[in-house]
Symmetry: C2
Subunit: 105 residues, 2 copies
DNA sequence: GCAGAAGTACGACCGCTGTCAAACTTTGAT
DNA sequence: ATCAAAGTTTGACAGCGGTCGTACTTCTGC
């Protein structure tokens, strides 16, 4: 592995794809956890109740939609929320999904 | 018919349900068309390329999520966007989906 | 080197959802 | 009364997407 997976550029962000990524509760939870975290989080560092292979799938969907950036550190894959870029492409969208009312906290 | 179909109250709005409603391109188009319209629009008044029965299905999903309010006028069913109520439940969400960037116009 | 940890890739399965056609209901107009 | 317009309901179908297990790859530490 070691190689960095492909990431779309901001100009290529697609609303349909972003919404399809965010509609899944597991993936939306990943996004809100990332938003609440101070640092980048490795794949195994999330609170979610699915198998590893399913988790990989979800991270891939998020990455291909442009919501997260992934890079390797040792055997761990780190995940960073692409906040600023998402805000640039779709202003207010992530804000609306990370509020107390939206997250239910 | 004649009877008004059931509508959820604001306190019952569910983000998951709302997102599932908005993730479909046909339904999101209905919402943006409603948002751009000055008046309520009857079911047949939308620009969409699906059969009538499919359209009925989409309106039902939107209504049950709380995104639209429906009422009869003669044989026509009118549709109104529940903007204020949606904004109250999930501030910024509809805004984010009705901008130029989001609608692609 | 070897074992373990961390993910990935690949198939398979299954349930959900968008789609349509056909038959039906209700209302308004002639 | 009849007929047409506007939606609804039901049933069927197809495709997609989330899920998992298993096998595989890479890297780290001993």
């Amino acid at each position: 592995m070691g190689r960095t997976p492909p990431h779309p550029e901001v100009s290529q962000f697609d609303l349909q794809q972003v919404l399809e990524a965010l509609v899944d509760p597991v993936r939306r939870s990943i996004v809100t956890q990332l938003d609440a975290a101070d640092e980048d989080v490795k794949c195994g560092g999330f609170d979610m109740a699915v198998s590893k292979s399913t988790a990989t799938h979800h991270f891939k969907v998020l990455r291909e939609a442009g919501l997260i950036r992934q890079y390797y550190v040792g055997t761990s894959r780190m995940n960073a929320l692409r906040r600023a870029e998402m805000d640039e492409a779709f202003p207010g969208l992530l804000d609306a999904l990370t509020t107390r009312q939206a997250t239910g906290r």
